[in-house]
Symmetry: C2
Subunit: 452 residues, 2 copies
């Protein structure tokens, strides 16, 4: 044999071992459940697209980071760097078949040749959901509700959805005669949470045509106090000269009112004028979601309303609103907060193998248990109990079903709760009910402990 090839992954790419993939997969499943409960349907698009599709929409940075090459047929192709550009292409291509509104979710990997020094990865999962084809406030309200339900379903209780409107920001800029400086002002504003007011003030003052007084005025607006209604009134007065600014305040008002009416606790959302979503193509509502216990990691779910999704590919005017769960970021946060139990198996039950001559019995027990809806792993080799239980411990099983030849002769099995180190002997051969009940009771006990 020639020399071995070193087994390694590319820089910026990751293997996911079971202990990381299990919570990732559970999070994706939860996201699917929540998206579906609002009528969003799944779609998928290719990892590779014609290069002209992808470069048609990306910024200079995404263009530079894109993985691109010439395929076997001489076509210039690129790997998708997000799920929004493919959605735009998809909507333009299939619009007549999709129905309006088109509500889709898409959970899939994307690739960017990022600088890995910044802690970024070159392959990551996006979990997007969008409502395309309507300007209705219902779609805006639902974005907030979906994010709320999603975080709750993921076991996050302390979070805040920060909501703003691009037209309100534009209206304010207009009232300050700063429309020509929109980009640098929004860029500065966006940094309030991360960099603090002093830094934002400094950056604002450096913008041409913006003096210290005006900069202070902007900052005061961003940090506006008072009740939500008072804030909305102030905003309304401030954008009095701008029709679209007033429409923006009206939309914000409607969204905040309906979200409250439906019973979302006030602690979970608020108006935040510092949310600008950088240089994105948003034109209406914009939102971000902060974890109160870990605000430093940034937004775990962000999005906004756009005027026209697919203008590069079709004359069909497609307004909509969408957001994206930051799966990896949220998972990292939950791990940091100790909310992700370490397990390497999704089957709760372990069955050690003692006597290989009684394999049929072990297989029968495993089958009984699975038919009752519990996952069960049968150890494949007849080793001593010690190494088998060590394996069970490493994997994180909850229950072991232990039976040697004697127990099998008597038609019983020892059900062992591996979390509490207690056990009971139950019959199984003629009637599986006692075994299934014992397993059910221990699992309930363990779940309570895990949640406590």
């Amino acid at each position: 044999m020639a020399g071995l090839i070193e087994p390694r992954t590319l820089k910026g790419f990751r293997d996911f071992l079971p202990e990381t993939m299990i919570p990732r997969e559970r999070m994706m499943e939860t996201a699917r459940q929540v998206y579906r409960s609002y009528g969003f349907s799944p779609i998928d698009t290719p990892a590779l697209e014609y290069l002209e599709i992808l470069t048609g929409k990306g910024s200079e940075e995404t263009d530079r980071q894109m993985y691109r090459f010439t395929d076997h047929g001489g076509r210039e192709v690129g790997m998708r760097f997000d799920l929004t550009v493919p959605l735009a292409r998809f909507a333009a291509q299939h619009w007549s078949q999709l129905g309006t509104p088109f509500k889709r979710y898409h959970i899939a990997p994307v690739w960017r040749g990022e600088n890995t020094q910044s802690g970024r990865y070159r392959e990551f999962i996006q979990c997007d959901f969008d409502t395309v084809g309507t300007q209705s406030a219902v779609a805006d309200i639902e974005m907030v509700l979906v994010i709320h339900d999603l975080l709750r379903a993921l076991g996050v209780d302390r979070f805040q959805i920060r909501i703003n409107h691009r037209q309100v920001l534009q209206g304010l800029l207009g009232s300050w005669d700063l429309t020509h400086q929109t980009t640098p002002v929004l860029r500065a504003i966006d940094k309030l949470e991360k960099a603090g007011p002093a830094k934002v003030l400094e950056e604002l003052e450096a913008i041409e045509g913006l003096d210290t007084q005006r900069a202070g005025q902007i900052l005061k607006f961003l940090e506006m106090e008072g009740s939500q209604d008072q804030q909305l009134s102030q905003l309304h007065a401030a954008v009095a000269g701008s029709e679209s600014g007033q429409a923006g305040v009206g939309r914000l008002q409607e969204v905040l009112r309906e979200v409250a009416a439906v019973g979302i606790p006030a602690s979970h959302y608020r108006l935040d004028l510092s949310i600008a979503r950088g240089l994105d193509y948003y034109t209406g509502i914009v939102l971000e979601t902060k974890l109160e216990e870990l605000p430093s990691i940034g937004s775990v779910c962000s999005g906004g309303r756009y005027d026209n999704l697919a203008g590069l590919y079709t004359k069909q005017h497609l307004p909509g609103i969408g957001a994206s769960l930051g799966l990896d970021r949220l998972l990292a946060a939950l791990q940091e907060l100790g909310r992700i139990p370490l397990v390497r198996t999704m089957a709760p039950i372990f069955i050690p193998l003692f006597d290989p001559d009684r394999l049929s019995d072990y297989l029968a027990i495993a089958r009984l248990v699975r038919q009752a809806g519990f996952g069960a792993e049968l150890y494949p080799d007849a080793k001593k109990l010690g190494p088998q239980l060590k394996y069970a411990d490493q994997k994180g099983f909850s229950i072991a079903l232990i039976a040697g030849s004697q127990e099998l002769d008597r038609g019983v099995v020892q059900v062992k709760n591996l979390h509490h180190q207690i056990s009971s002997e139950v019959p199984w051969r003629d009637d599986p009910i006692p075994l299934i009940d014992a397993i059910g009771n221990y699992l309930k006990m363990i779940e309570q402990k895990l949640l406590a």
Copy 2:
């Protein structure tokens, strides 16, 4: 605006609209559930690998078909063409952390620059599961059980798992003095189901050193009759001169015996000496799964045992067994057999929007229904009932909750069963139970109809 970019996908690549993605996603979820129930855990690996990792294992064909390029850092990289080579690399790299046996599943896309004229796609999902690190018969038996449970869970009742053993084939070849012609003989044998006995005979006779009599003898063996026990005895006698052939017969015997003992119906599996799995790297049990209603589509779940998974990357000897569900092939078959209902939504309930001034009420009804566990879509725009119900019909909702201003004033809603065109008016405002019960009853009724 300059000219539009034509929205199109690359040749051999597919968009999945909701009507196709919904059953695909359900199949993947079912596969995960079944894999998990046997203790298989999820992993993921990068789409891109160092080229030397991938070219280390592929055939000339996969090497030629591989998407490859030079990345931003000047590295030669390739897109994975299967999930087995990445598993080998992964196991070699992380073996000490994985525990033995390592049971993993991996559901992910792979890419091959196939000739699309043959109806093949250049991007498709693989659904693999493997048990690595043991030569135990338990792992072999479980492969059969998993495939059985998986197909049953996917709603397939008429299928047959065909089981063979490479050492038995080798033993037979030895007994016929054809060991030096293994490859062409296995290749010919493999075609029995598709091309028929006459074609196989012809191909066998064309092999050097193989006369008509010997070819006939081989074919007779492949089409062996009698009970399973009789067949195994005949095999045992035929490979008497080969220790490894006898071990193979013994393993086959054990697998078939235990699969029967655990209660798998005899119609779902059988010994089939024509299964060779082409030129794959298998060394033990090999298996394929045919749909009895549509055998022409080929195997929907195939796999086998290998001696050493990762010999190119590590000196660690890693025997194992794995199989793969042919998701796209099975989905195409189920669609052809009319088993996949056409729906474009995963939420059963549709709520038309009549009176935009009563938005809070519609949102409240939707929230009630979702909190009871039913997915519900609220139409975002206050159009006439006709277009809204047409939309509901296109999407395939089961139930509509219809309420105009008058109904809302009275605190009632009309629950309409869209499959049977019947409806009932129920109160919801003070107590949601009547509404939830009415929905539950209609859904039960509709499910029964769909299953009938």
